[in-house]
Amino acid sequence: MNEQRRPHILVTGAAGALAQQVIDRLRDTCALVAVDFREQIYLGDDIPSYCIDFNKRSFEDLFRRYKFDGVIHLGRIMSSQLTRMRRYNANVLGTQKLLDLSYKYNIRRIVVLSTFHVYGAVAYNPALIDEEAPLKSAGLSADLIDSVELENLANIYLWRYPDLNISILRPCNIVGPGVRNSISTLLGMERAPVLAGFSPIMQFIHIDDMADAIVLAYNKPRRGVFNVAPEDWVAYQHALKLCGCKPIPIPSIPPILPKIILSTLKLRSFPSYLMAFFKYPVVIDGRAFAREFGFTPKRPLKEIFRFYRENKKPV
């Protein structure tokens, strides 16, 4: 190994827009290897890219071959994707395999992408939720259990193996060009469902800012759990309005009614298990991350919403 050796980093979830933004920011200074369970994507000749299931034995070969220094684990299957069982296998068991291999091959820095969904949307949530707050989402729906389990697992490794230097990031709604999650899909639609009489306060972070946050986090080996959110807030229905989206109210009381309607409609962008997030606010406090890593988001909400207003057709 020569002195000029660039840090070798494994980036998971490479087919996602966020991972590609992170890769763009690191490709000049680091030797990257990209993996994704969904598809193999071409990221240029300098970045080996694989379509691989973390639970397969061949995954370990990557660790043997590339001698990674760090891992950026963005390959989390969102709650709106695949079946509950496949999500559990990929998100929980797959992450466990990844962390086991990281320990075995002496990885020195791991950044894990989680989500603010783990806090759960309940009527009694205070605003500006700290990282120490209990994770209540598993009690809301079985479809969110894998998100909480992934966190718990990463937390166990964080404290049991301090040398792994694990940072878990819990961002608010990630939105912007190329993002395919539920909220981004909703903002991009001409008409979007809302629960009548409810317009919870939400936080949005631009994909470019989130990529900056991940890179900042990777470069400062400070382990812990951190919320990532700008200090700006907007009500859901106001956000839709600014995105040029007409709201379609769904009857909200009694609570069983919207649940039945959404379960029947099976809307991918507005699934019944995320219903509570469109009813009650989950406002997280991102100040600890901003302070620790010197993070300042650069893209204001107005710019984010302008993008959706001007790009009503999927991009």
Binding site: A123, Y124, A235, Y280, V283
Partner: protein, 271 residues
């Protein structure tokens, strides 16, 4: 001119609009804060409350200038009258005072966020779910917070128990001590007579999932309201046993009781 600006021009007087803008609440780029407060909705709320405050309840507020001009402060009052009218009127008195107006936050029952439309509207007008974490974070942000330590024990009490203070929780005192927030006691007189209740149908309240189901006339009576603000009370943040915290709470309770007595003696008539 769009419908929104037309309504605004008709409903919100220009001086009220500039008055609220002058307060400079810490809000984000789209006018919201983390608890859902919205400057524009607040203006409508104040315009509506102005009618209630000046014409319907003909409120007489004494000593509102005693609330500090800035920094964390807990405004602690007696709770009465089935609906949170008292919080609304105290908030209006502080928001519209001539010198150093402030937009206070009122802690509301846990039941409200589950009510469609109303929950959001209350949040937009500055009301916040009554959770200790919320109160702590707001004091840390230097906000003025209205607290009713009697909770639903106070607001849901019957007419026969009027002006008898119920048990005070100790939570507000712990927060005041931790955040060095002065406590301004307030005696509210008149709200007890707005919706006099003769009974509470507990099984119905349980069935509907609401805090209480009063037997009362379905109208809010135009009782004259007196708000008496007391001198700020300052408590140090020494580590003390709960017994002594309760003693401090009793001091606040006694101050409020005295202010209620003053209001009752000043009152010439009920309506």
């Amino acid at each position: 001119m769009g419908l929104a600006s037309f309504l605004k021009s008709r409903l919100i007087p220009a001086e009220l609009d500039s008055h609220v803008n002058r307060i400079r609440k810490p809000i984000g780029t789209l006018g919201y804060d983390p608890w859902g407060y919205n400057n524009e909705v607040m203006k409508y709320g104040l315009a509506l409350t102005r009618q209630l405050y000046n014409r319907y309840f003909r409120v007489e507020a004494t000593g509102v200038e005693k609330i500090p001009a800035e920094g964390p402060v807990l405004i602690v009052a007696n709770h009465s009258g089935q609906l949170p009218m008292d919080g609304l009127l105290i908030g209006y008195a502080l928001a519209t005072r001539e010198k150093h107006p402030r937009i206070p936050r009122a802690m509301i029952e846990r039941f409200f966020p589950t009510v469609p439309y109303l929950g959001n509207l209350l949040n937009e007008c500055g009301a916040v779910l009554g959770d200790p974490t919320n109160c702590a974070k707001m004091l840390a942000n230097g906000e003025a917070v209205i607290v009713f330590p009697e909770g639903i024990r106070g607001s849901g009490k019957l007419y026969q128990d009027r002006y008898q203070l119920k048990r005070f929780g100790n939570g507000f005192m712990h927060l005041a001590m931790k955040y060095n927030a002065p406590i301004v006691p307030v005696g509210v007189v008149g709200c007890e007579e707005t919706i006099p209740a003769i009974a509470n149908i507990r099984p119905l309240a349980k069935l509907l999932g609401i805090p209480y189901a009063p037997v009362a006339m379905p109208v809010v009576l135009p009782a004259k309201v007196h708000l008496n603000f007391g001198d700020p009370m300052i408590f140090d943040d020494r580590e003390i046993p709960e017994e002594q915290v309760t003693e401090r709470v009793e001091q606040v309770k006694a101050a409020i009781s005295e202010l209620i007595d003053t209001g009752l003696s000043e009152r010439k008539r009920l309506f």
